[in-house]
C-alpha cells in the first residue's frame, strides 16, 4: 500500500469513505425496516388476545379522568355531569386515535408509537425516579445492561481472538487440547454458571457480592463508586466468559487453521516474512470477516440469555425489569422490553455490519 502516490491514495480513501457511507445508509435503512417488521410482529402477537386494545382504552380512561379532575372549570360539576364529561371525552379520544377502526389501521398507529419509543404508561411499575412512563423505566435500566454486556462481550471477543490465534500456533499441544476439550462447557448459558459462581465466590468463599450493581449505600466519590461497580460486575462477567469463550476459541481457532494452510500463506512463509507479519496480514485479515459473523450470531443469542443472567445476579438492567414486569403482569413494560431488545439486536447487527464492511474490501452494494 505504501508505494501508491499520495494523491491516488487520498482519492482511494475518499472513494472508500463514500462507499462506506452509502453502505452504512443502506444497511441502516434496511435494519430500520427490519425492526419495523419485527415490532409489527410483536404487536400482532401482543394483540392476539385483545389485550392491547383493553390496555389502550384503560390508559385513555385514566388520562382523561386525571386531566378533568385537574381542571378548575369542572370543579363545580356534579359527579354525574363529570362522569358524562369523561365518557364523552374518552369517546372523542378513541375516535381521534382511530381505536374504533379495524385492526389494520390501529396496528399502524401502535407501530408508529412503538418505533418512536412512545411506549405508554406502565400499569404497576415505576422508574426509580418515580415516573410511570415505560420510556423512563427502560431509560433507567438500559445503561446498566449496556455496561454489563458491552464489557463482557468485548472481553470475550478480544480474549477469544488472541487465545485462538495463540492456540493455532501451538496446534495439537497440551494447552490446545485442554482448551478445546473445554468447548462443550459452552452448552450451558451464562446464568447457569452464574449460579455456581455465586455459590462459590459469594457464599462459600465470600470474595464478591452475590448480586446488585453497587454496594448499598453507594460509596462516596467517583472512584469508590466505580470500584464497587467493578466488584459487582466480576461474577456476571466471569459467568458470561465461561459460557461463551471456549466455543469461540474453538471455532475461531478452526478458521485460523483453515486459513493458515492456504497457498498464499505458504508463499509468504517461503518469502521469509516474519511470523508476526504473516499472522497479522495474511491470516488475521482474511479471517476476521467470518469471525465477525460468528460473533454476531453469538451476540444475538447472548442478548436473550441476558434477561436471566441479570435476574440471577439481581443486576438492575433490562432483564430484571422484564422479569419484574412478568411478576406484575405489566403488559406495556413487557411489550416495551421486547421492542427495546429488537432495537438492541438491530444496533448490534448494524455495528458489526459496519465493522464487516471496513474489514472486508470485497463487500459491495447489491444495488
Amino acid at each position: 500500500m505504501n508505494d501508491i502516490p499520495p494523491s491516488a491514495s487520498s482519492a482511494a480513501a475518499r472513494h472508500n469513505l463514500r462507499r462506506l457511507a452509502i453502505y452504512t445508509f443502506v444497511r441502516l435503512a434496511g435494519l430500520l425496516i427490519t425492526v419495523a417488521v419485527g415490532v409489527y410482529i410483536t404487536i400482532f402477537i401482543a394483540h392476539g388476545g385483545g389485550q392491547l386494545d383493553q390496555l389502550r382504552q384503560a390508559q385513555i380512561q385514566a388520562e382523561v379522568s386525571e386531566r378533568i379532575a385537574g381542571m378548575e372549570e369542572f370543579r363545580d360539576y356534579t359527579p354525574a355531569e363529570r362522569n358524562q364529561l369523561i365518557r364523552d371525552e374518552v369517546q372523542r379520544e378513541i375516535e381521534r386515535l382511530r381505536l374504533d377502526q379495524p385492526f389494520v389501521y390501529r396496528s399502524l398507529d401502535y407501530l408508529s408509537r412503538a418505533m418512536t419509543l412512545n411506549l405508554g404508561r406502565a400499569e404497576q411499575m415505576f422508574s426509580d425516579a418515580g415516573s410511570r412512563r415505560v420510556y423512563h423505566i427502560i431509560g433507567e435500566r438500559l445503561p446498566a445492561t449496556l455496561l454489563l454486556f458491552g464489557t463482557a462481550n468485548l472481553l470475550v471477543f478480544f480474549i477469544a481472538l488472541f487465545a485462538a490465534l495463540a492456540l493455532s500456533r501451538r496446534y495439537g499441544g497440551k494447552l490446545d487440547r485442554t482448551i478445546i476439550g473445554l468447548a462443550p462447557l459452552s452448552a450451558a448459558p451464562g446464568w447457569f454458571y452464574g449460579i455456581f459462581l455465586i455459590l462459590l465466590f459469594a457464599f462459600v468463599i465470600p470474595w464478591f457480592p452475590a448480586g446488585g450493581m453497587v454496594a448499598a449505600p453507594p460509596p462516596e466519590g467517583r472512584l469508590a463508586y466505580a470500584l464497587s461497580v467493578v466488584r459487582h460486575m466480576a461474577l456476571p462477567v466471569a459467568a458470561m466468559l465461561v459460557s461463551s469463550i471456549f466455543i469461540s476459541i474453538y471455532s475461531w481457532r478452526t478458521f485460523f487453521l483453515i486459513y493458515s494452510s492456504e497457498d498464499y500463506v505458504e508463499m509468504a512463509r517461503a518469502k521469509g516474512l516474519s511470523s508476526g507479519d504473516i499472522e497479522r496480514r495474511y491470516i488475521l485479515r482474511p479471517t476476521l470477516p467470518p469471525i465477525i459473523t460468528s460473533f454476531a450470531l453469538m451476540l444475538i443469542g447472548l442478548w436473550g440469555g441476558a434477561i436471566i443472567l441479570e435476574q440471577v445476579f439481581n443486576w438492575p438492567g433490562l432483564g430484571t425489569m422484564l422479569f419484574a414486569a412478568i411478576g406484575h403482569l405489566d403488559t406495556p413494560v413487557i411489550i416495551g422490553g421486547v421492542v427495546i431488545y429488537a432495537y438492541l439486536l438491530a444496533a448490534t447487527l448494524f455495528v458489526l455490519d459496519i465493522l464487516y464492511a471496513v474489514l472486508d474490501p470485497r463487500v459491495k452494494l447489491q444495488n
Binding site: I195, G304, I308, F323, I326, L345
Partner: protein, 444 residues
C-alpha cells in the same frame, strides 16, 4: 446406511464421544424409569403438593450428604401408635383409659426441623380426651396439654405459641434440649418418650397417633419448602427436558433445512423473500417474545415449543445452509436429475438435502442442549409450565426461597447437575461428530 455405520465405528475411537453417548444413554434410562415408576398423572398430582407430603420435612438435604458431614444431620423419625406404640388399657366405670408410649432415641447434634403429631380419632358421639406428656432423657416430664381431638387433626408442637413461650424456644428446640435457658441451646441426646394418655368415653372409640420428628435430611434428593420430594421433579424433569430439546431441535433444524433448500433451488424471488424473512427473524428476540407469549397467553410447555419452532423456521441457520447448498445446486448430479425429469420436490428432498445432512447432524446434536436450557431459562423466569415438574422449576423455587442464602445448596446443585449432564452429554457427542463429519476439522 453404510456411511452411518462407519461413522458410528469412527465415533467409538473418540473417548469423549463414548462418554457423551453413555451420558445420553443414562439420561434415556432415567427417563424410562421415571415414566414407568411414577405415571404421568401421579407425577403431576404429587408435584401439586399438599397432603401427600405432610410426613416429609421442609428443606431437608439429601440423606447421602451425611456421608460427607462430620456432624451428621438427623433423619426423620416417624412413630405410629399402632406399630411403634406400647399401649396399655384399663377399664373403669364405663370409661376406658389407654396409655400409648412412643419411645425414640435421638443421638444427633442438630435439632430436628419440626415436630408434629397427627391424630385420627374414631368415635360416634363423644370425643376421647387426650393428654400428652413429653419425657426427656434426663427424666424431666413436660406437660403438652390436653386436647379433645377432631376426627383428623394435626398438632404442631413447633408452632404451638403457648408451648414456645413456656419453653423459651419453639417446640422442636425447647423439647429437645437440656439448656433451654441458654440463648444457644444444645441438643440433649438420648432416649425420649411421648406418652399419650387417652380417656375413651365410648366402648368403640379409637385414637390413632402418628408422631413425626422431622429431620434435616431426606431421601436421595432432599425436599423443598413445600415438603415435596425433589426426586419427583429430578426424575420427571429428564423425559420432559429430553423431549423438549429433541422436539425443538428437530423441528427447527429440519424445517429450516427444507426452507433453505427450497430457497436455493427455486432461487430468484423466493430465495430473496426467504432471505429477508430470515433477517427480520434474526432481529426478533426469542426469549422476550417467549416471555410475552407466556404472560399474555399460556405457559404451557407445548405452546412454548410451538413458538420456538415457529421462530426457528427462519433462523440464522438458513444463511448457513444456503452457503452450503449453493455449490450443491450447481453440482452435476442435480443437473442429471433434472435432465431425467425429476420434479422440484424430488430434487430438494432426494438430491439436495441428503447431500448436506451429514454435516448438519453434529450441529443438530449440539443444538439439543440449547433448547433444554431454554426451557430451564423460561422456568427460572417463572414462566415454566404450571403443571409439569421440571429442573428449571426446582431452580426457580430455590431462587425464590433464597436457597443459596439459606445454605440449601443441594436445592440448586442437584437440578443444575442434571442440566449439566444433559448439556455435556450432547455437547461431547456433538463435538466429536463434528470432527468426523466435517473432515476439515479432523485433528489428525
Amino acid at each position: 446406511m453404510n456411511r452411518w455405520r462407519a461413522a458410528l465405528q469412527e465415533l467409538k475411537k473418540y473417548p469423549t464421544a463414548v462418554a457423551g453417548l453413555l451420558l445420553i444413554a443414562f439420561l434415556l434410562g432415567l427417563s424410562a424409569y421415571a415414566v414407568i415408576a411414577i405415571p404421568y398423572r401421579q407425577a403431576l398430582e404429587l408435584w401439586r403438593g399438599g397432603e401427600h407430603w405432610q410426613a416429609h420435612p421442609r428443606n431437608a438435604a439429601p440423606a447421602w450428604t451425611n456421608l460427607f458431614r462430620r456432624r451428621k444431620l438427623p433423619p426423620t423419625v416417624r412413630l405410629d401408635s399402632v406399630d411403634n406404640g406400647l399401649a396399655e388399657q384399663d377399664e373403669l366405670a364405663g370409661l376406658r383409659r389407654q396409655r400409648i408410649t412412643l419411645p425414640f432415641t435421638f443421638n444427633y447434634f442438630d435439632f430436628p426441623s419440626e415436630i408434629n403429631l397427627f391424630l385420627e380419632t374414631e368415635f360416634t358421639r363423644k370425643t376421647p380426651l387426650l393428654s400428652i406428656r413429653w419425657q426427656t432423657p434426663d427424666g424431666r416430664q413436660i406437660d403438652l396439654g390436653a386436647y379433645r381431638p377432631l376426627r383428623r387433626q394435626r398438632l404442631s408442637l413447633s408452632q404451638d405459641r403457648e408451648l414456645a413461650a413456656r419453653l423459651g424456644h419453639p417446640g422442636h428446640i425447647g423439647l429437645m434440649t437440656g439448656s433451654a435457658e441458654s440463648e444457644h441451646p444444645t441438643v440433649l441426646r438420648g432416649d425420649y418418650q411421648v406418652v399419650l394418655e387417652i380417656l375413651h368415653f365410648e366402648p368403640g372409640s379409637q385414637l390413632r397417633a402418628d408422631f413425626i420428628v422431622y429431620g434435616r435430611v431426606h431421601g436421595l434428593a432432599g425436599t423443598d419448602h413445600q415438603r415435596r420430594d425433589l426426586l419427583v421433579a429430578l426424575l420427571w424433569g429428564t423425559p420432559i427436558a429430553l423431549l423438549f430439546g429433541l422436539a425443538a431441535a428437530l423441528g427447527t433444524t429440519l424445517t429450516t433445512l427444507v426452507i433453505a433448500t427450497a430457497g436455493v433451488w427455486y432461487g430468484g424471488r423466493i430465495d430473496a423473500a426467504i432471505q429477508r424473512i430470515t433477517e427480520v427473524n434474526m432481529i426478533l428476540p426469542l426469549l422476550p417474545v417467549l416471555v410475552m407469549v407466556g404472560t399474555l397467553y399460556s405457559r404451557s410447555l407445548w405452546l412454548m415449543l410451538a413458538v420456538v419452532v415457529a421462530f426457528g423456521l427462519f433462523s440464522a441457520g438458513v444463511k448457513m445452509y444456503r452457503a452450503m447448498l449453493l455449490p450443491v445446486r450447481r453440482a452435476p448430479f442435480v443437473e442429471a436429475a433434472q435432465a431425467y425429469g425429476a420434479g422440484s420436490r424430488r430434487i430438494i428432498f432426494r438430491y439436495m438435502i441428503p447431500r448436506v445432512l451429514p454435516v448438519l447432524v453434529p450441529a443438530f446434536v449440539t443444538l439439543i442442549p440449547t433448547f433444554v436450557f431454554l426451557e430451564a431459562s423460561l422456568a427460572v423466569l417463572g414462566l415454566g409450565d404450571p403443571l409439569l415438574p421440571t429442573w428449571g422449576k426446582i431452580l426457580n423455587d430455590a431462587q425464590q426461597q433464597s436457597a443459596l442464602y439459606n445454605q440449601h445448596y443441594y436445592w440448586v446443585l442437584t437440578p443444575a447437575a442434571m442440566l449439566m449432564l444433559t448439556g455435556l452429554g450432547f455437547a461431547l457427542l456433538g463435538f466429536a461428530m463434528d470432527r468426523i463429519f466435517n473432515p476439515r476439522l479432523r485433528s489428525d
